[in-house]
Amino acid sequence: MVRAAGGAKTVVMGLLIAERRARLRVLVVDDSAEFRSAVRAYLHGATDAQVVGEAADGDEATHEVERLRPSLVLMDMHMPICNGIEATRRMRTLEPRPHIVLFSLHAEPELQHAALAAGADEFYSKRDFVPLVEATLTKLSSAAQR
């Protein structure tokens, strides 16, 4: 009901947000192609962030960050070969340093602690991916505006 009444207003706000978010370049890192593609579809369909690349493990992710210079890396913690924690350690020394988000299916506080200790900026539980990524995008866009 609220939605119907404020419909027009929402669209205008949406356009404004679209302009603000236009600059966000995102790298999606997960060993599940299914999840990567769902993130891509979601960001494309529901936000104005642009997915510039994908990687399936931490090694590949580090190369892609150097090559594509994304401003945001969304990365799974649990991956074969080189996991998210190790990749974060490598990425945090890069210039310019992307905003790094590690996520996990699990939500144990110890995982969050380990993610932040490795140098990640944020930790998400995958179950709550949508509201959290929305908040990150909003935060990064308004920071870029200033």
Partner: protein, 374 residues
């Protein structure tokens, strides 16, 4: 899967009882159920018949789940106790779990009930089977003559192989759950989330509301997958190694028990062989469970150290000690995982020893030592 499921239901509301039974009747088992609503009726039901599971409302007129749980525990029956309530708060739920309830399910989320019941009933059946096996093994050991030692060693070796196979199966299953089911479910959730963004004009209200329902179902599936996968194999162990996983485990136990825990580690900052890490984690886990269940300790300490190519684990508590008679009583009741722990240690070429100073009436504490080649 056609064994009858015997359910003892503690519930004063006939309609709520009907709801619970309808939910359970969707499973593979024919149901046999009895509804009681007082302590006297519960006691009588426990004596008259055997039950696979007790499901209890939290608050009834003149009766409650905590009181019911006490009665079930006093009857010394290993029957899983599940609380189903519309009103239970987190504090009450934690108290119930600490008192020995197997699970709690909100009336608003009865979908969870059937899987919880199936899981707990199957766990309890396994526990019973293991108790029988352990008792048989203890009996066998007592009667052994030298000539039969070889046969016993053979049996022991099989047991060891079983432990290792179990760990490996659990690891594979946990990976499968996490990597396949978990990933697909989270992807599905994202896909569903894109739809409402098309806006109210593009998505009819009925569709939007059914998508919301679907999202709630996906969330509940993700939670279950997560829980099963953690039970099978702690996620911290794979990602962060033994030290962090142990620390997290001990901290989580410290939060829910009145025992003061301390953990000391040395030389395990670096990764060990995966089978050694999981064995060590499980050994500490089982030792901690023993202390929590039986020792009544006010403080306990754990030391895990790797030195001279050996991994030593020591768990000490200041509880009621473990006299021979008490240990045997526990083993008979199937509580003491010491047999399993010893076999686990042997499977890796290690040894386990238990010491408790001779009892002289005073609390003496117990010490469990494990040495593994590393």
């Amino acid at each position: 899967m056609s064994e009858t499921l015997c359910v003892l239901l503690i519930e004063d509301s006939e309609s709520d009882a009907g709801l619970v039974l309808r939910t359970l009747s969707q499973g593979d088992h024919p149901l046999h159920a009895l509804r009681v609503e007082s302590a006297a009726e519960l006691r009588a039901a426990l004596v008259e018949s055997s039950w696979d599971v007790v499901i209890s409302d939290y608050q009834l007129p003149g009766f409650s789940a905590p009181a019911a749980l006490t009665i079930v525990r006093e009857a010394q029956l290993d029957v899983p106790f599940i609380v189903v309530s519309g009103t239970i708060g987190e504090d009450e739920a934690v108290m119930m779990m600490k008192a020995g309830a197997a699970d709690y399910v909100m009336k608003s989320n009865l979908l969870r009930l059937l899987p919880a019941v199936v899981r707990e009933v199957s766990d309890a059946r396994h526990r019973r089977a293991r108790r029988v096996a352990e008792a048989a093994e203890a009996g066998l050991r007592a009667q052994l003559g030298d000539s039969q030692r070889e046969a016993y060693e053979q049996l022991s070796a099989w047991h060891r192989r079983l432990e290792l196979t179990k760990d490996e199966e659990r690891r594979v299953l946990s990976r499968e759950l996490h990597d396949e089911l978990g990933q697909t479910l989270t992807a599905l959730k994202l896909r569903l989330k894109v739809v409402p963004r098309a806006g109210p004009s593009a998505v009819p209200a009925a569709v939007a509301s059914s998508i919301d329902d679907a999202l709630a179902l996906v969330d509940s599936l993700i939670d279950r997958v997560r829980k099963i996968s953690v039970d099978l194999r702690p996620p911290l162990l794979d990602e962060l190694g033994l030290e962090s996983a142990l620390r997290a485990f001990v901290e989580s136990q410290a939060r829910v028990s009145s025992t003061r825990w301390s953990l000391q580690t040395a030389g395990i900052g670096q990764r060990l062989a995966p089978e050694l890490e999981i064995a060590c984690f499980r050994l500490v886990q089982e030792a901690v469970t023993n202390v929590l269940r039986h020792a009544g300790a006010s403080s306990a300490s754990i030391r895990v150290a790797r030195e001279n190519e050996r991994l030593s684990i020591a768990v000490l508590d200041d509880g009621c000690g473990l006299s021979g008679a008490r240990a045997q009583a526990c083993a008979r009741a199937g509580h003491l995982g010491l047999v399993g722990m010893r076999e686990r240690a042997r499977a890796l070429g290690g040894e386990l020893s238990v010491s408790s100073p001779p009892s002289s009436g005073e609390p003496t504490g117990t010490r469990i030592d494990v040495l593994l080649p590393a």
